[in-house]
Symmetry: C5
Subunit: 88 residues, 5 copies
């Protein structure tokens, strides 16, 4: 899993039925020192995250678990809002 | 998930039975500022996308969900057509 | 999914039982302009591809779908032979 | 699978229900000569690892197996504490 | 799938129950010209491979198939010992 920051959202004009009602957010992966790491991704939100918040996201089929039993075709998902982290 | 633009299509002369009737499109992944990101991939289309459209695609087994119960051997799939996105 | 060209084959002296009878080919991933992209991989063949042919392959668990119900431990599979592709 | 060292932990203020009670640790992947390899990741712990310990972790859906039957949305998990390794 | 050479082994002092009895080997991925490719990984062995042997390994959930019905949390597995390969 990775740390990230919510930087925006995506609106679709047409979509697979299983994506109906799923909120899609733009997330910038960040390092533990809060520097951007790689490209912005699109993630399905299951915890009510908003722009500017630090989040915790997963990649892969695991991203669809929170929407079970709907098999949402998501490969990245926000599964937690971060309070803080500690190094060392 | 990632943003991309449809740039072409692929025609097969022979294929695994489960791919019969599946439309295969060439997709250039793009950044939120619409710059190309990495290599063009081949994605299975489940939303009727066409060349020149901005799309939203997934990677991994999730790409086969829209074709359920057929177990389509796809590892990338277009699951939405993008209306717009907002940063910040 | 990605485009590739079959460049050789692999012969095993010992293998997991579920791989018995599975043809293993060396595939060079290629770009839409037919340039090599990254390392040669080993892929399970389910369409009768041969050396020199342009193929269409998947990565991940999806590569084992054509061999169902046998759970072949394959993470790359050739699922189509390419006739042609069109850009733009 | 990869070798890593536990370097910290993450605390969430809000989370998907299936993550309740799951300990989240920051892990620095390391080489066999103990050099850092790439970015620090967040991993779910199922073996009681602590800061400073050398661990063995998996990526992907496999990371959720130790929490079965709960479908924990984890894509990285610590599944062993390393005693030692031998090269050659 | 990829070609690799077994270069060592890993011993755990504590582990998830499902890993009990699973042999863990250090594998250096190699190219078809036998040059090292990227980092050494840890793979679960299901074919009795030993140090110095050329092997064939998979990544992802597929690595756990040989251990079925135990859901071994492995994301890399040696599934064959290579006799030889042919290019062209």
């Amino acid at each position: 899993m990775q740390l990230g920051r919510v930087v925006g959202n995506v609106v679709l004009s047409m979509q697979n039925d299983t994506l109906t009602g799923v909120k899609l957010l733009l997330v910038q992966p960040i390092s533990t020192s809060r520097e951007p790491l790689g490209r912005v991704i699109v993630a399905a939100d299951s915890v009510g995250a908003g722009v500017g918040e630090d989040v915790f996201f997963v990649r892969g089929k695991e991203a669809s678990f929170p929407f079970y039993p709907t098999e949402v075709p998501a490969d990245a998902g926000i599964v937690g809002i971060v309070d803080h982290w500690t190094i060392g």
